[in-house]
Symmetry: C2
Subunit: 473 residues, 2 copies
């Protein structure tokens, strides 16, 4: 049966016992947990060792004289190890190592939380540990496993626990799983809407498999640290805990160069000093090694406070970009009151406005497809001139497109100036942007696809061109 778009058809007869249901679909997403049926149909397995260690989990309202009960704490005593995680509504979660004997007793008792309470009390001594209420308990064994294939045929995809299972101790399970789906979402939407080639879907596996591996490695370290070294914290456990507080956040995930992450630009060298390519008749600029240190290819761009040029209202840059499937080109234009810098920005604007630019071809396509934002491109100017000295109406039209309500769009120009009340004026410094400015292309998931100087606009065009579908729908 020929299928169009993302449509699926199904044949079923619910009135018959043991009825068979046949669903025909272009894509299958297996977000069906650790025992994933989809994964099993593909003949794929979760690989890795399962350690024969059981942990008890208890959600309780504790009554205790332990002074840090409302802080996340790890206790390693001669009687065993446990972890305390304060929760909402005065609840406290406790993870405690339990012997296989105690696990047996717990199961035999039909899950009596008092069994786990006793294990907790043993470790907590000499502190008193009672509970006014026990809300929930369980015992689980740790399995650190992941699947080596996250997709097949660019048609079938696996996400979340279906491809990585681990202990809950690092609090990463839900986060990484949602990030899996977030990575896949815009790619699938783009391909289905015909605004990106099917090969884009291959990057899902390429980008998320290393994340799954790192997650499992990290969880192993956290668990090993919790198990071993009674009464002491070894160096790797300490390091893992520090990483958990810093680099494990979704902002730290960095994807390697691929179809939608550019390689770093290699500059021609001139007597040892790296120079920018000569573009548009402008002089090449010497490269600074620490330039754009905070904007890393493949990682999400950190946020910074900027002001809307038109009304001076402060905005976190990261919140300006919506998760609607559109790409964002951010032109950090520098101080456009300086003649040379103004010309460089106007040159970029002219280039983007040319009918040959991929931007204009994407716009034409958008006009045909009822202005869907999926696969479209928004262009922002973030300059550093004093906003009171620049009239927004004098800026190139590519930064202020026509708007039915107000003549032109006032919402795409921002300025790195200090706000009246809440700081600001440090965005260029925080990002490490030179006075010459730069270009940053953000994917729909806000990972940096490309960064370069204003004269590198050709690289930007090339990257975006390479993922346009062959046939414009």
């Amino acid at each position: 049966m020929p299928l169009t778009g993302a449509e699926a058809s199904k044949t079923s007869d619910a009135s018959v016992e043991n009825a068979q249901e046949i669903i025909k679909a272009k894509y299958v997403l297996g977000c069906d947990g650790a025992h994933s049926w989809v994964r099993k149909q593909l003949g794929l397995k979760l690989e890795g060792a399962s350690r024969d260690v059981s942990w008890g989990v208890l959600d309780a309202f504790p009554v205790t004289d332990f002074p840090d009960i409302r802080r996340r704490s790890i206790i390693k005593s001669e009687f065993g190890n446990l972890m305390i995680i304060p929760r909402e509504r005065k609840l406290v979660r406790t993870y405690v190592q339990v012997s296989s004997g105690l696990a047996e007793i717990y199961r035999a008792s039909d899950g009596d939380p008092e069994v786990i309470m006793q294990a907790v009390r043993r470790v907590m001594q000499p502190y008193r540990f009672d509970a006014s209420r026990l809300e929930w308990s369980t015992i689980y064994s740790v399995g650190h496993r992941y699947c080596r294939e996250l997709s097949r045929y660019d048609r079938i995809f696996l996400a979340g626990d279906a491809v990585h299972t681990h202990s809950p101790k690092a609090g990463q399970g839900m986060n990484v799983s949602m990030q899996d789906s977030y990575n896949l979402g815009w790619k699938l939407a783009s391909v289905i809407h015909g605004v990106a080639p099917p090969s884009l879907l291959r990057t899902y596996h390429e980008e998320r498999l290393p994340v799954a591996k790192r997650l499992i490695d990290f969880d192993k370290r956290i668990c090993r640290g919790m198990l071993e070294a009674e009464n002491t914290f070894d160096e790797d456990h300490r390091r893992a805990l520090v990483e958990e507080n810093t680099s494990m956040s979704g902002l730290a995930v960095t994807y390697e160069p691929n179809l939608v992450i550019a390689k770093p630009i290699v500059r021609q060298t001139n007597g040892g000093e790296k120079l920018n390519p000569r573009v548009n008749g402008h002089s090449p600029l010497p490269m600074q090694p620490d330039r754009l240190k905070a904007i890393r290819l493949g990682a999400r761009m950190p946020s910074a406070l900027v002001l809307s040029h038109a009304d001076s209202q402060p905005h976190e840059l990261q919140r300006i970009f919506q998760s609607t499937g559109e790409w964002n080109l951010v032109i950090f234009g520098g101080n456009i009151l300086e003649e040379e810098q103004r010309q460089r920005v106007e040159s970029v604007a002219a280039s983007l406005s040319s009918p040959e630019s991929v931007v204009q071809r994407m716009r034409s396509r958008g006009n045909l497809s009822h202005h869907s934002t999926i696969g479209s491109l928004s262009i922002y100017l973030v300059h550093s001139a004093l906003h009171t000295e620049v009239d927004i109406g004098d800026l190139p039209e590519i930064f202020r497109l026509p708007d039915d309500d107000t003549g032109f769009d006032y919402g795409k120009v921002f300025v790195d100036n200090e706000s009246y009340h809440v700081g600001g004026g440090n965005a260029y410094d925080e990002y490490g942007i030179s006075p010459h400015g730069c270009l940053v292309l953000l994917r729909p998931d806000q990972h940096v696809a490309f960064k370069g100087d204003l004269e590198d606009i050709g690289f930007f065009e090339h990257l975006l061109d390479s993922i346009q579908p062959e046939v414009i729908i």
Copy 2:
């Protein structure tokens, strides 16, 4: 008919044309606008001059080359004056002075907004001013009037436009009106619940009449500034605009001493140096003239970032205090790791825990009345010792009352320490609190009822005692 509590009874027969409805109530609140029926029944009038000047108001989506259209702007040109106020959804409100002739034309045209557009265009020239859509328009005359009585018999109260009418230009109408009601709300609830004497209600008029007067005076200045001085801003207009941005916020309202605002403590002088009274056997401390400069009697206490002692989470102090009709005593205890300071705090705690303390009598009453928060008192300790060095379980019990879930309440002790991520550790400095600490009593509306040294606990007791109802219900 005898009525209990706030109950009201009414007699009506809706089935009869021109039916009369009789409502019997203990209290009447007239929040019925500039033409208040309640006010008229009392024979009260709004007093003050009505200037014979008309203003046009226009809500539009402007299409213009005026560069500051998205900023609040006042334009004074040889063709007249206007004010621009950017609104939501790209809307812009414009106030423009119109001649009596133009006002006539507007009325004759049945409110054609194009008439006001023309007045706006005239002032805006040489800038172009069109609109893609006109959403609303009106013409009004300014009346700066207020009523000299805000309540009568402590039974009938007037609030909002019923007691002060003015131009909308300062954007204060809704704010001041809500603050009227907020001032009355907790007082009325306290009297109805029998936890405060009816005389408390007199303070509504005492506190809000000066606010109404100031509002009208301020509005006159803003309007006069807008009317006069074509092409220029006179000094008073500039000053009024600055005040609007700063002191007109609700936080700047300061009530004079009355039943529920203490007079400043007068110290015995000793050879020219002011000393604290000798209380509880402690040495008198020299008074610093700039002490507690940010905590002003009768004004709201500004906020500061503090950490919860138990879990180190940061909190804005102002958000800790709920608007539930309860009073809050904040004990800034200083560095309680120092022996002398610890003893001073324990002395305050002992005093508050004594059966003779008004606190204990209020608690007994609360226990009888099903723990209603109205008219109750919460006690907070904000100390400045390093939180890791103080065990919350060692603090006096008055700061950690029994809690069914967790043994004792972890939520009443805070610390002026730096947080992990978001600053903090400057609360004492910001408030101007000395290392000896201080007491601050906040009314249910968070205005400062009393402030003093830790040894001034007797003054606190006296104030709170004076507003306890004679018969404990």
